[in-house]
């Protein structure tokens, strides 16, 4: 998995609450059996007009100034609904490596870490402030430093964020989780021998 240490990039706003994974990747694209190639279907129903091709000018993220964004700014309960990992796949294929939100849905949050995406939880006040700043200045950038758990604005102002230490380690090192767990194969075998349900 790709490592994540420091990221500096353009921030794109998605001003909505409860953005569900059906919006992130609509069901018709779940028929694919591949893990990549989802960049064009991200936010499909919002992003394009009814023809499914022409960019919807009313979808804020489509505007020229947010092209090339790597950081997504949104509100609460992002990624709720279906467990589809197609959602983080599409976000990543589009270019996002970091998501700033007031809160995340549980399964989506876990899925991010398996795909080298850093989800950061910030207070509603800070998120509100960032929305204001992103809209006020073209090419608004932030620097995300996972090692030091800090977000730096272009004016030098810093915001600290919290993250579980193990999740942090995984992203920094880009660990293959299965490989890590298989180091304990013997313990798994022992567990199976004394399983309380006698499976």
């Amino acid at each position: 998995m790709e490592k994540f240490t420091v990221l500096k990039g353009i921030v794109a706003p998605l001003d909505a609450r409860n953005v569900d994974t059906d919006q992130i990747v609509p069901k018709q694209f779940l028929k694919r059996i591949q893990r990549t190639g989802y960049e064009d279907v991200l936010f499909y129903d919002w992003r394009y007009l009814d023809d499914g091709k022409t960019p919807n000018p009313k979808f804020e993220m489509n505007s020229e100034r947010y092209q090339g964004a790597t950081i997504l700014l949104t509100r609460d309960n992002f990624g709720c609904g279906s467990s589809r990992e197609h959602a983080p796949w599409a976000l990543k294929d589009y270019g996002f490596r970091c998501i700033l939100a007031i809160s995340f849905a549980d399964i989506f949050y876990n899925n991010c870490f398996n795909n080298g995406i850093l989800p950061i939880t910030l207070s509603a006040d800070i998120i509100e402030q960032l929305f204001g700043e992103v809209r006020a200045k073209e090419n608004y950038m932030l620097e995300i430093d996972l090692v030091n758990q800090s977000i730096t604005k272009e004016n030098g102002e810093k915001i600290h964020f919290d993250i579980h230490s193990f999740l942090k380690e995984r992203l920094i090192n880009g660990w293959d989780q299965i490989g890590l767990t298989l180091r304990y194969e013997e313990l798994i075998t022992n567990f199976e021998k004394q399983h309380p349900l006698k499976l």
Partner: protein, 470 residues
């Protein structure tokens, strides 16, 4: 110290707690379906890994399969490929697959319980958020992503952080005509779609004890819509009675011992939780969602919200956006909303009791001329068979409903069953997200009897006032 059910299951399944990472827990059942598994199997192949416990892994096809003309090949080539891929992956890795033509086929969360695969005290995962359904049996069950599916296939374990526990204590009595579906929708309306985030919920109280297994499954099913990791109910006599005699109940343990083992997982008296919420069931009415999130819900006697009565700006904006999408005027009575289509089915309400509830309403009536389509999609082949034995299908067919083959169908509209832009549906499923039932489609979530009544009248009605013909 007394323990709650989550603590018991958690402790019994800890394989190892490494110093530098999350605890590793053992997984007792892994359910697999066609949509979230192909990339996981591909990952195994690329890394040259095997499935560690194919005997604890069970697959079914449900999301993508047609509900008509099952004898013909699947028309959509991509759906066909996905279904074929699951079949060949199961063959390659030695996994039991209840494929489209198997008499045990159906929605994964209907099949697991009815075959007795789901049992108290188990840890159960599936690449599907509604895995929470299985918590009704006192198992710790939750949805995972595809990378985690691959992890479980390869290691039969998962990395987990321990959740906090929330008790939702439901006292009183559910009024007649009010179901577990209304109860959970009422709860979501109260605590919000992120009210359960970070928690595992246990439902307790008199009301829960009296619920059938089907109703308990409905309750746990939609727990994910409140954002919780899992929802569960301590096993009791109702659980035991439902399970005994089912196909996959272990034969190598004497029955008495098995029952004791199952019941031993129940929460101890005087155990504690991180948080408790009390619900008075008497207050619950039949519910209808009016918006694009399950928390946007109203009792049937209520009205669509009025924007300038909402103080919070972010919330008002969200409601405004939802009403626009839903094509609803502010302040109108819920009962005045007319619909185009009816969908009765899904892992929330596609079980035999749900079909009985709906049939009881429909008996002696005809589907309204205003309704373009009304479909009944049983949750599984076994549910379908049972319903046909009871003659429920005749009641539906005579009234003008379509009687379909099992599957997820219009719950997520991956197959041909879907809403067209602007169409409005009374649906017994669990999600009313934008486009969930088809691009531009408008979903109102309700219980099965309410959906049936809506089919007859053409608009929402209070099922408590229905004139039954039985």
């Amino acid at each position: 110290m007394p323990k709650n059910i989550y603590e018991k299951i958690w402790e019994a399944h800890l394989v190892y707690v490494p110093e530098d990472q999350d605890p590793i827990i053992y997984i007792d059942r892994h359910y697999v379906h066609e949509v979230t598994s192909p990339q996981a199997f591909e990952g195994l192949r690329l890394a040259g890994r095997k499935v560690r416990r194919p005997d604890l892994t069970f697959a079914t096809m449900d999301h993508n399969i047609p509900t008509t003309n099952r004898d013909k090949p699947i028309a959509d080539p991509m759906s066909a490929l996905q279904v074929e891929t699951l079949k060949s992956n199961c063959k390659e890795f030695g996994i039991q697959c209840f494929d489209m033509h198997d008499p045990r086929n159906g929605i994964v969360h209907v099949v697991g319980p009815e075959l007795g695969l789901t049992q108290p005290g188990m840890t159960i995962v599936c690449g599907d958020s509604h895995t929470s359904t299985h918590g009704a049996f006192g198992s710790l069950a939750f949805g995972i992503g595809t990378s985690e599916v691959e992890h479980v296939l390869a290691t039969q374990t998962l990395l987990q952080r321990k959740s906090k526990t929330m008790q939702i204590h439901i006292e009183g009595e559910l009024p007649i005509g009010v179901t577990a579906k209304d109860l959970i929708m009422h709860i979501i309306g109260k605590i919000g779609t992120d009210g359960g985030t970070g928690y595992v919920i246990e439902y307790t109280g008199d009301v829960v004890k009296k619920l059938s297994m089907e109703a308990r499954m409905t309750l746990c099913n939609m727990t994910i819509e409140a954002g919780a990791r899992a929802g569960l109910i301590s096993p009791d006599e109702v659980t035991v009675k439902y399970l005994l005699g089912r196909a996959y109940i272990p034969k190598h343990i004497p029955e008495e011992e098995l029952i004791q083992l199952w019941l031993s997982w129940a929460s101890d008296p005087n155990c504690s939780y991180d948080k408790t919420i009390n619900i008075n069931a008497v207050e619950v009415e039949p519910q209808v969602t009016w918006g694009t999130s399950p928390e946007m819900v109203s009792p049937i006697s209520g009205r669509v919200p009025v924007l300038n009565e909402i103080q919070d700006t972010n919330r008002r904006n969200a409601v405004e956006k939802a009403l626009k999408y839903m094509g609803l005027e502010e302040g109108i009575p819920i009962e005045s909303i007319e619909v185009d289509k009816i969908f009765i089915g899904s892992c929330t309400n596609g079980r035999i009791e749900d079909l009985r509830d709906a049939a009881r309403v429909v008996k002696g009536y005809k589907v309204s001329k205003k309704i373009k389509q009304a479909i009944i999609v049983p949750g599984s082949m076994l549910v379908k068979e049972q319903a046909e034995q009871e003659g429920l299908h005749t009641i539906f067919l005579e009234a003008g409903f379509e009687w379909r083959e099992p599957g997820c169908s219009m719950c997520l509209a991956m197959n041909e069953d879907r809403l067209n832009p602007g169409e409005r549906c009374a649906s017994t499923s669990n999600r009313n997200f934008e486009g969930r039932q088809g691009k531009g489609g408008r979903t109102h979530l309700v219980n099965p009897a309410m959906a049936a009544g809506c089919a007859i009248m053409g608009h929402f009605i209070d099922i408590r006032k229905w004139k039954f013909n039985d």
